[in-house]
Structures are given as C-alpha cells and as structure tokens.
Symmetry: D2
Subunit: 141 residues, 4 copies
C-alpha cells in the first residue's frame, strides 16, 4: 500500500483567535499530503503528472475528519497518509496527524480524477486514469 | 429549530489552479455560517458572546462534507445552516450550500464549547453553557 | 475615475492568535475589490472578462500597504477602491479600508494583464488590452 | 545582522486559477520567516517568547513587495530574511525569495511589538522590548 509521511510545523498563520489551528488548515495540509503521495508513486511533481496524463486535478467528492487533540503554533506534527483504495476514476486517502506520538487528527477523503471538457476548458469532467498510471498507484510506485 | 441563510460569492481567492473552489474554503464559509447562526440566537456578535459567557471559542471535534457540484469564481451561492442538536457542552450544525437552486455541498459538524484553563490561559478546556444561553440556542433565540 | 465600494465583515477565519486580522487577509480583500472594480467597468464577471478578452489574470508586480488601526472579528469595514492609473498593459489601484469612518488600512497595487503562451498554456506572458476594453476602464465603464 | 533562510515548496493550495501563487500567500510565508528569525535570535519558539516577555504579537504597520518572477505549484523557493533595523518598539525585516537562484520576490515590512491592555485583554497596545531581549535581536542572538 502506498504511504507517505510529512513533517509539518503549525504556524501563526494557521491559528485563530483561540490560539489553536483553524481547522480548514488541516484540510490544506491533507491536500498537500495527498499530492505528495501521488508524486511519490508516479515519480513526478503534480504540475508534471497533470500535464503528462491530461488531468486538471483530483478534487474531492467527500471528506470527513475527527479532531482529537488541539494543535497550536510552534507544534511539530507528523502526517501519515495512505492510499486505502484506488480505482480507475476515484481513490481514497486516509491521513493520521500526530503530535509527540499522540493521534491528534484523522482525515478521510474520496477523490476523483478530472480533465477539461474538449468544448469548454473551464468545465471539468470525470476522466479515467490510463492503465500504466493506475498500476503505479495501486502498486505503490 | 435555529436556522440561518447566508449568500456568498465565490471569489478568485477561493479557487485553485483547476479553476474551482479549493475545498478548505468551504469549511471557512461554514465556520462563518455557524458563527452567524449563534449570533442570531444570542443577539450578540461572536466577540461579544465569547466575552459575555467566558468562552474562548467553539472548535470542532468532527466534520464531514459531500461535494456534489463544483463552484467557481463568480458563482453566487446560498448556504442554509441549521442547529440540528444542542446539548450543554456540544452542538451539531448542518450546512447546505446551493448554486442556482441545486444542492452543491453538504457539511456536517460537531462542536464543543471551550474556555481557557484558569492556571494557563494558553490551554483550552471544555466548558458548559449557562442555562440561559443554552435556552436561547435550543429555542432559536 | 473608476471607483467602487465594498462592505466587508472581518470574520473569525481572518484573525490570528492576537485576535486581530492576519494582514495577508487584507490583500485577499483588496484582490476581490480590484476584481469588483473591473467587473463594474466592463459589465462582466471576472470569469467572463478573462474569457472574452483572452486573459489568464491580472497579477501584481508591486504592492504596498499601511496598517493604521487594527480590525478584529465582527468589525464591519468599508473598502473604497479607485483605478488611479490605467495603461494598455498595466494599471494601478488604491484601496482605502475604513472602520466606523476612520481610515484603518491603505493599499496600493500595480498589476499587469497576462495571457497564456501559445506554445505552453502553463506559461504566462504579458498581454495588452484591446482598445475597447481599455476605453471602458479609462472612462469608468 | 540577524539573518535566516527558509526553503519552502509552493503548493497547489497556494495557487490561483491562473496557475501561479496567489500573492497574499507570499505574505503568509514572510510572516512565518519573520517568526523564524526572531525565534533564532531568542532561542525560543514564538509561543514561548510571547509568553516569556508578555507580548501578544508583532503586527505590521507597513509592508511593500515587488513580484519579479511568477512561482507555481511544485516550485522550490528559498527565502532569505534579514533584520535590517531594530529599535525598542519597532523593527524592519527584508525578505528575498528566489527560485533556482533568481530573485523572484522582495518583501519589506515594519512591525511593532504589542501587549494586551491591562483593563481589556481584547485591546492591544504598543509595548517596548526589555533590554535583554532587544540586545539579543540587535546582536543576532
């Protein structure tokens, strides 16, 4: 199974007037972690894999998260991400964010691959991965 | 049941290189909608109700969302928020974001009330609402 | 001279652990104000005017700001924006953000119009406005 | 002179529909760089130096920036920050962000130290650094 770990420091810019992280920032972090996971499997940066395979992105269709412990500016956290399911047109990623070894946040996301519609580049439409790309994601790069 | 509707325009600053909203921005919008809901019930702005009742905030313990239709910069959306459960120390809010009458995003959140620990203002701890505040939320203001 | 006023409420999501707005959020607001100014002159939404005239955006080449008074969540502010200079390929906008009638922030920006390079859509290059578009901006719509 | 270098990767979450970084994100990066600079001089994390010296933060009174080259998601950039002036109540920082050795963005900021007003913790007021803290910043830690 494809996995990746990123170490991130929570910063002042991530935090709200309560002094803790403003939770949408966790989703920003998870988005970057999912990119890192796919980059690792494909051996290309996102800007490259989007271009190479003709995708516009891999937006979410669903997500959920549980926030178990607060984090605040200056905290060093580790985010373990795993590709837990991967079909031709959609995939699922789970993220476990921990602080000093304790699980602080769990995130779950389901994403689809999209390309640009031929007749209107501003419109996105679902698009399947070619077999070689799918194989790389399913076998961990 | 306490409800509120906010009309929001998705802006360039909310969107990503695919040209659609970057999904953590939905959670920012939902956070503002939850504040508006409580402000409506209590007849006070957030900065006032936090001070009046001695809270530091109402952070999330869990959330989930489904993204059914994409939105992009310039789209006018309406967000209906409802307080679907409210106890002394936690509450649940549901958000339905629609575009041109079609449901685009659903968000669900569970939050708790927190205050600052007496011995360390940087540490947050769970805190119950006083009865008059609870009554206002449960009876819609 | 082309001008526009937007009324904005500073929200919890805009503020940092000091309880005041995190200053990059002012630049987000100013970006939206500049869009509103151009939309007003052209009578089109940004997504429409980019497409109609073949632009990818109007990124900044320089900006500066002075922060005179703090703002915090719940504050209602008014932002007056004015197109103070407009040539074929660049333009300047000034923003004055006030709170309860008092000037809180001044912002100044210089922007250029860019299109996508014919040989590589990911690369941006400077591009001049067609005369009818320029005339609308210079004469205030 | 106190200096620091941070290496940052521009991510998808930092970029706009033109495919380049949304410029307020540069200010977020600069804010984190200024924190890193002070942390280096004082040998404490921000959450610790704010507490140790009784400050609420070091907000900006003025900033300006020049954007020379665009950056996009996947770009690795280096940000050199220098404390170019430091008095008892205000200081100036310059940031130079480069990509593959070429200067892409220059940022200049003037900040003040603030504490919380004794009679109203939500109100901020200017506050001077104690001599030992000032000496550490002026002599580079």
């Amino acid at each position: 199974m494809l996995t990746n770990i990123r170490n991130v420091r929570v910063e002042w810019c991530d935090c709200d007037p309560a002094g803790i992280i403003f939770y949408p920032r966790y989703f920003e972090m998870f988005d970057t972690c999912t990119t890192a996971l796919i980059e690792r499997a494909l051996g290309m940066r996102k800007i490259e894999y989007l271009k190479a395979y003709g995708f516009a992105g891999h937006p979410l269709v669903a997500t959920r998260a549980r926030f178990r412990l607060p984090t605040r500016f200056g905290d060093e956290v580790a985010i373990e991400s795993a590709l837990v399911a991967c079909g031709r047109s959609s995939f699922k990623v789970e993220h476990r964010l921990s602080k000093a070894g304790a699980l602080a946040v769990e995130g779950f996301e389901t994403r689809v691959w999209v390309g640009r519609a031929a007749d209107d580049p501003q419109r996105l439409k679902s698009r399947e991965m070619p077999p070689d790309m799918l194989a790389r994601l399913q076998h961990g790069g």
